[in-house]
Amino acid sequence: MRYLPLTPSDRAEMLGVIGAPTVDALFADVPAAARKADLFDLPLHAGELEVERELTALSALNRPAGAGPFFCGAGAYKHHVPATVDHIIQRSEFLTSYTPYQPEIAQGTLQVLFEFQTQVAALTGLDVANASMYDGSTATAEAVMMAQRVTRREKAILSGGLHPHYAATTQTIAHAEGMEIVRLQAQVDAEAAVIEAIDGDTACVVVQTPNVFGVVTDVSRIAEAAHAKGALLIVVTTEAVSYGLLKSPGAMGADIAVAEGQSIGNGLNFGGPYVGLFAAREKLVRQMPGRLCGETVDAEGRRGYVLTLSTREQHIRREKATSNICTNSGLCALAFTIHLSLLGETGLKQLAALNHSRARELKQALAGVAGLEVLTPRFFNEIAVRVPGSATALVEACLADGVVAGVPYARLDPHAGLDDVLLLAATETTTSEDIAALVGALNAKIAR
């Protein structure tokens, strides 16, 4: 077997050093009833060519996003990732190292995390950021639990514009910890209803912008209302490229900002692995979950980086930790940081403007399709439309023309009564030809 270096004579010699007659003897502590003498009912080992053949055949059954006109967003976005990013993240020293427990021989990873934290703090307009979470949805749940620790209150209000998977994740995880989760009615312009729901028991309000229907909102008024009642404002973003164009959560009064970072540096990967961004105001840092990287000096006074404030974490605090998270999204954070360093201030602003521009073209085109109603008033790169009948059926019908027309809202939340709502995203990868193909397919299917 190509991954196993020991030869039969190595094994015999090693058993001699150990003083054991057989390898079986090393498994003596396993109860005899549980020791399997026979091989399991699974195929035997396979060469690289065979494995490649099987997996290539499976992958060929899928329709990649890049294979034609494609308009799915709703929390995961098709962007162009520069070739440099994938080249560097495959370097052995990044790919095959682990959590930087020994900082003297992990400065590469640590300095990248410090750069990542600085970038995330800048994007979100907040003071401090951690070294990443699993993804945007789990980061949202963690933010809600952090608000409980900060305010010592039990109620969280989730806007009806929050991505339904994020709401479900938060409900599952934060509810298990004993919190009361109030999920407001799903609607396109959902943010106005949030203010009325805040009361003196509220630990936090969770508002997404751009929201799941694509609506961009100035959340400053929600921040004021929350703060007036002693609650925190958590702002969620699922499209990190939007930071390049829109007011930052921090500038609008957010106490905690969380986001899905996939759009920068990371591919779609059928939903994972992605990278959760998590930032907060400085005074809240000791209640943050996850790893933090900090600057220090070595014995010769040279600048270096270490994991710090680990007294918040499970390996030190055990059941009193701020979270149970251990492994995070290191390599995806690296991809994020490299891509963002290539973009820089100028490139990110250009990319964001380009995304918005493509979405405006999409919106104009959709406005010309008879029977469609554009629902999103202010958007970044994603819009919701009302279609005649079922959005799911329409998407299926458009597949026949080679067009993936978007995500039916009902796929995310079948109980909202929004079966006729379709979510469509455009990015820098969307061409005018793609939009023309979409419009052609929609016209044909809706007319029929």
């Binding site: 399991f40 682990y98 201030e345």
Partner: protein
């Protein structure tokens, strides 16, 4: 063209001094590397993008007016910056990386290639399932392998790492108790040797934690377990093989008495690598167990993630597994994404979408490469390698549990360092100078000055010997009173020992422009 040798010295000058300080402060090719924000500028970029056709006037005052504060680099500068940084890292590809309980094994590059096939990498989680049949089939096959290898009837694939899997398992247990009118069970028993994520996860779901004592031979104390198994106990969380690298000999009895008292048996599967292909946790009475795909199934650790932590479940818990999962129907494979109808008992959702697909592809490629025979050999070689290290190092070091074999990792205490003035930390740092990543230190907490060494099955005998010889030499040096070698170590790493106290006292977590020299945000 070969280099001209006429008149050019071809041997080092024997009279040259050995110690040397460069003029710039650099260390040869290993340069101090500034931060991105010190290198780059706000106007610099490494991408070429077309001009947008529309401006953002329609967004009015929603547009960001102030600078973001990012720095950009051209492509050559970015490549150089990150390649230089990479060279400051140790990695499995460089040498043995014996972090106990982390399973730092070789990461096959075939897996990377497979995960990058456009049919997997460029697939959106919410495109119609009719266009993702191959991805769903891969998830289905991975689930089949995981269920077969563990002897468990169900698996939840979506958890994103080990600790997330623990959370998933405990939420299943909580849901099962609530469905059975046993919601008053709110205590979890955890051995003193457990990984910190176990008690942290229990607290995360609102359970209280009671520790179970350990016997002198490093196993769960059955009498103590039995005494603490009251009718308020929801579950026990036991790692097997445990964090001392030992198999819990009484595991079947542990499961029996746990079930007899109405509690569930959560097994932390971090150490599944030691028994894969030889022992099925389902035969041991386990109700739920997470599997770290980044450990047993070789997906890369990536400097701290991403991981993946699917959870296998017993019949009693299967109905409570979270959405989503794959089912086979008349139109091919489908995803059940909502806890409704037949799936009404599902406890909810662990995260957006369907789990760590990129890790699923890699893990599946690894399983297929090994097959049933290779995976069994994985466990055997992992255990053989650890016992070989234990046998050889016991010449100079004191194993925490000398009697009997260990499983996939060898645990030493610091008794042998007594009187030398050298601590476990010093010893670990001196290993760096010898070219090895230190072992896991001071864990498990039950062993004083613990040194937990996990070689994995992907090390050759030659590399194991090189490692053992280096450690034996170091141990002899410590006992011979050569304390300076240890106290100041590492001397030969990219950095000397770092001041963690200063980092925590006044945390500096982001780069900020010094006043007047703001570069990135001018």
């Amino acid at each position: 063209m070969s280099m001209l040798n006429v008149g050019r010295p071809t041997r080092p000058d024997a009279a040259a001094p050995t110690a040397h300080q460069s003029l710039s402060g650099g260390r040869g090719l290993l340069q101090d590397e500034p931060l991105l924000f010190e290198l780059g500028g706000w106007e610099k970029t490494g991408v070429d993008l077309p001009e947008p056709e529309f401006d953002a006037a329609d967004l009015g005052d929603l547009v960001r007016a102030e600078p973001i504060g990012l720095a950009g680099l051209s492509e050559p500068e970015a490549v150089r910056h990150y390649v230089r940084l990479s060279q400051k890292n140790h990695a499995i590809d460089l040498a043995l990386y014996p972090l106990g309980s982390c399973t730092m094994k070789h990461n096959p590059r075939l897996n990377e290639r497979m995960a990058r096939l456009p049919g997997f990498a460029d697939l959106h989680p919410l495109q119609p399932t009719s266009t993702t049949q191959g991805a769903l089939a891969l998830m289905d096959r991975l689930a089949h392998w995981l269920k077969t290898l563990t002897g468990m009837p169900a698996v939840a694939l979506s958890p994103k790492a080990g600790a997330h899997g623990e959370l998933c398992g405990l939420l299943c247990i909580k849901a099962a108790h609530e469905a059975a009118g046993q919601g008053h069970r709110r205590r979890v028993l955890v051995p003193t040797s457990a990984h910190g994520t176990n008690p942290a996860t229990a607290a995360f779901v609102g359970y209280s934690v009671t520790e179970i004592a350990q016997t002198a031979d490093g196993r769960v104390d059955l009498a103590d377990l039995e005494a603490k198994l009251g009718d308020d106990v929801a579950a026990i969380m036991v790692t097997n093989p445990n964090t001392c690298g030992l198999f819990e000999r009484d595991v079947i009895e542990i499961a029996r008495i746990t079930h007899a008292r109405g509690a569930y048996f959560y097994c932390d599967g971090a150490n599944f690598n030691a028994i894969v292909g030889r022992v099925r946790p389902g035969d041991l009475g386990v109700d739920a167990m997470h599997i770290n795909l980044h450990k047993t199934f070789s997906t890369p650790h990536g400097g701290g993630g991403p991981g993946a932590g699917p959870v296998v479940l017993s019949e009693a818990l299967a109905a409570f597994a979270p959405a989503p999962w794959v089912v086979s129907g008349p139109d091919g494979l489908q995803l059940v994404e909502e806890a409704v109808d037949d799936a009404a008992q599902a406890f909810g959702r662990m995260s957006a979408f369907h789990g760590q697909m990129g890790m699923f592809v890699r893990a599946y490629a690894y399983m297929r490469s090994h097959g049933a025979d290779g995976l069994r050999q994985v466990a055997e070689d992992a255990v053989l390698n650890a016992n070989y290290i234990k046998a050889r190092l016991s010449q100079e070091m004191t194993p925490a549990f000398p009697d009997g074999p260990c499983m996939h990792e060898a645990l030493f205490d610091d008794t042998w360092l007594e009187g030398t003035g050298v601590t476990t930390l010093d010893f670990a740092k001196a290993m760096i100078d010898e070219g090895f990543h230190p072992m896991t230190m001071y864990f498990p907490l039950v062993v004083h000055g613990a040194m937990l060494i996990e070689p994995t099955e992907t090390e050759s005998k030659a590399e194991l010997d090189r490692f053992c010889e280096a450690l034996l030499q170091l141990a002899k040096a410590a006992k011979a009173g050569d304390a300076d070698r240890f106290k100041g170590a590492p001397y030969l790493a990219p950095m000397r020992r770092l001041d963690e106290t200063q980092a925590a006292r006044k945390p500096k977590l982001t780069w900020k422009p010094e006043s007047g020299t703001a570069q990135a945000a001018e």
